[in-house]
């Protein structure tokens, strides 16, 4: 055939390499760091940055899971309440086991956390996929359910972690390994795993296909139900990991734990460049998005310009500007 030999030079390989869309969140991050430095030079101090990045770890870890859910065409509003619920279950279990297991109650509790997260994610996934309910509504429902359960478990108060476990568990948030805070390490591991699964495995392919076009996925022999349910399960496990890091930080679960995190998580994912309508997820962008959000909050505390009442307004404006910068840098 004619055109064949001349028309397929592989000269466009380089296209894969740099894309402004991918770089957007990182540029926004850099801009924010520069701005922060101008406002208050302490902003770039090692302690401050390490604090902020450590704090962003929860949202980052959950957002890695959310990147799966969103790129498979779903949405999960229940993650904030799920953190509270899992933290509650975990603490209750650890406290119950502490007398018999001693410090072994901590790893046992962690295992329970992961199993609980998995089941919560599975529940969300099944309601959305098998029940065919709009994810927004389904997970709004489970959000109420998880929140009510933690309220019930705490009788409206707090469940603190047992004193005997407290000190041993503390390093999971406050410790460092080779100078790097443990939550940062954990979120890095979660991100690397997430990126591996999403970009390098068959499951990642399926996830993107289901999010991009359900029909095409179905006609290609991909189970939409299974793929999307697994995405919710991954989300649940990520929430569990975040809860595991969270518990030692505050040492207790309350009915207000994790409130509104779902919005932060989704914002991080979207700022990171993943489209809410599904199709393609960007794990590293998500991580950048989570850090950006925490940096904005930090900047509010470090700067003295803004009236307490207006902090939320300035945050809103900065997020909108960050998105605009990202859009128009293309």
């Amino acid at each position: 055939m004619t055109a064949l030999t001349q028309s397929v030079p592989a000269r466009n390989e380089r296209r894969y390499q740099f894309s402004w869309a991918d770089a957007g969140p990182f540029l926004a991050l850099a801009a924010l760091l520069a701005l922060g430095f101008l406002v208050n030079p302490d902003f770039l101090s090692a302690t401050n940055l390490s604090n902020v990045i450590t704090r962003s770890a929860y949202v980052a870890i959950i957002a890695v899971g959310a990147t799966f859910v969103i790129s498979s065409g779903g949405l999960d509003l229940s993650v904030g309440s799920m953190v509270a619920f899992i933290a509650g279950i975990t603490i209750m279990f650890m406290n119950m086991m502490a007398p018999s297991l001693g410090l072994w109650a901590i790893p046992a509790g962690m295992a329970i956390a992961v199993v609980t997260g998995l089941l919560c994610g599975l529940a969300n996934g099944v309601i959305v996929t098998v029940g065919k309910i709009e994810p927004f509504i389904a997970t709004l429902g489970t959000m109420g359910i998880f929140r009510a359960l933690i309220t019930y478990m705490t009788n409206g108060g707090t469940i603190p972690i047992d004193r005997s476990l407290r000190e041993a568990y503390r390093p999971v948030y406050f410790g460092t390994l080779g100078g790097i805070p443990i939550p940062i390490l954990i979120s890095a591991i979660v991100a690397v795993l997430g990126a591996f699964v999403l970009y390098k495995t068959k499951y990642g392919r399926k996830c993107a296909a289901v999010g991009a076009n359900e029909d095409v996925a179905r006609y290609s022999g991909i189970s939409v139900i299974k793929t999307r349910t697994v995405a919710y399960v991954i989300q649940g496990v990520c929430v569990a990991v975040a809860a595991i890091c969270y518990v030692p930080r505050l040492g207790a679960a309350t009915p207000t734990t994790g409130q509104l995190w779902e919005l932060q998580v989704i914002t991080a994912v979207v700022i990171g460049g993943t489209a809410l309508r599904g199709g393609k997820g960007r794990i590293w962008g998500t991580i950048a998005g989570a850090v950006i959000l925490e940096l904005i909050a930090n900047l509010m505390v470090l700067s003295d310009f803004v009236s307490e009442y207006l902090v939320a307004a300035v945050q809103g404006v900065i997020i909108i500007i960050a998105m605009l910068v990202q859009r128009f840098s293309k």
């Binding site: 503390r170 505050l250 040492g251 009915p255 307490e308 009442y309």
Partner: protein, 293 residues
């Protein structure tokens, strides 16, 4: 030399009472910053426990704090972070809710949430003659709410007062309005209502007014909101008393801390504010028309 830095960490103004706290904290900061050139008071608000921990980290990472005045969201969650700051040599003043480790706080200034519930209950028992059917509206599931309800319930135990129903209305007047409408639809006879916060009481009063019912003899709140204190002053028959839980305690705490810092007076220890009933007789003392609360 260097200015002495006093950091004030309080919850964000998300309902009436916290708004009062913010108002008084800022007023104190302004007055002190103007009056004492070598003291700087920095006020930071946080919308949740986790954010408050973050704010503490941020405040202490960027500068050395000479003193910290904190109204913690919750005791358990804030204990460790405050201890970390204490370990840097900072003077710690805790307001309202004590930390789980009392040795951390150099100065502790608190209202008494259990007393808020208990005193209201006592008045109600008196007024209703020891028996009657009441409904209760509670706030957001937190310690404060829990303590007030506990104080109330412990006090009415064994009397003829019967709690027909108790539900959350999230310290929000709208939700309280709806909840009260529903209580009224559900119970043909209600002797009294207790909303454990004045924001909610406003909604309750509207609902009662709309229903036109006359069986409700008492509708009580708590916290000392100026509108309700005004009612007490005016001798309202349904809301004849009020329980203070003055947000101005933060101002007192800041002043005491600064006094300690600049060496005017060494102040340490515990100060427990009482929750006496506000009645028509003493209501004027509790009336601050300029406060947002």
């Amino acid at each position: 030399a260097d200015k002495k830095v006093v950091a004030v960490s309080i919850p964000a103004a998300d309902h009436g009472w916290t708004a009062g706290v913010v108002y008084h904290a800022q007023a104190a900061a302004k007055e002190i910053n103007a009056a004492f050139p070598d003291v700087e008071v920095v006020v930071k608000t946080s919308p949740s426990a986790a954010d408050q921990v973050s704010a503490l980290e941020d405040l202490s990472a960027s500068r050395k704090l000479d003193a910290l005045v904190i109204l913690p969201y919750t005791s358990e969650e804030l204990t460790q972070p405050v201890k970390a700051i204490k370990d840097m040599g900072t003077f710690i003043t805790v307001v309202d809710r004590g930390l789980t480790d009392a040795s951390i706080q150099d100065l502790y200034l608190a209202g008494d949430n259990i007393a808020v519930g208990a005193n209201t209950a006592k008045f109600m028992i008196d007024k209703l003659g020891g028996k009657g059917d009441i409904v209760v509206l509670r706030g957001i599931p937190t310690i404060i709410d829990d303590e007030r309800i506990k104080g109330f319930q412990d006090t009415i135990k064994g009397t003829g007062i019967k709690v027909l129903d108790i539900q959350y209305a999230h310290w929000n007047s709208d939700e309280a309005f709806k909840l009260m409408q529903d209580y009224l639809a559900k119970y043909p006879h209600i002797d009294a209502v207790w909303a454990n916060d004045d924001d909610m009481l406003l909604g309750v009063l509207e609902a009662v007014k709309q229903s036109g019912r006359t069986d409700i003899k008492l509708a009580l709140g708590g916290n000392g909101m100026k509108d309700i204190v005004k009612k007490v002053i005016d001798g309202d028959s349904v809301t004849p008393v009020e329980t203070p839980y003055p947000p101005s305690m933060i101002k007192t705490a800041i002043y005491m801390t600064v006094a300690n810092l600049i060496g005017q007076a060494p102040v340490r220890g515990h100060v427990k504010l009482d929750a006496p009933l506000i009645t028509q007789a003493n209501a004027k003392e509790y009336y601050f028309p300029d406060s947002p609360f």
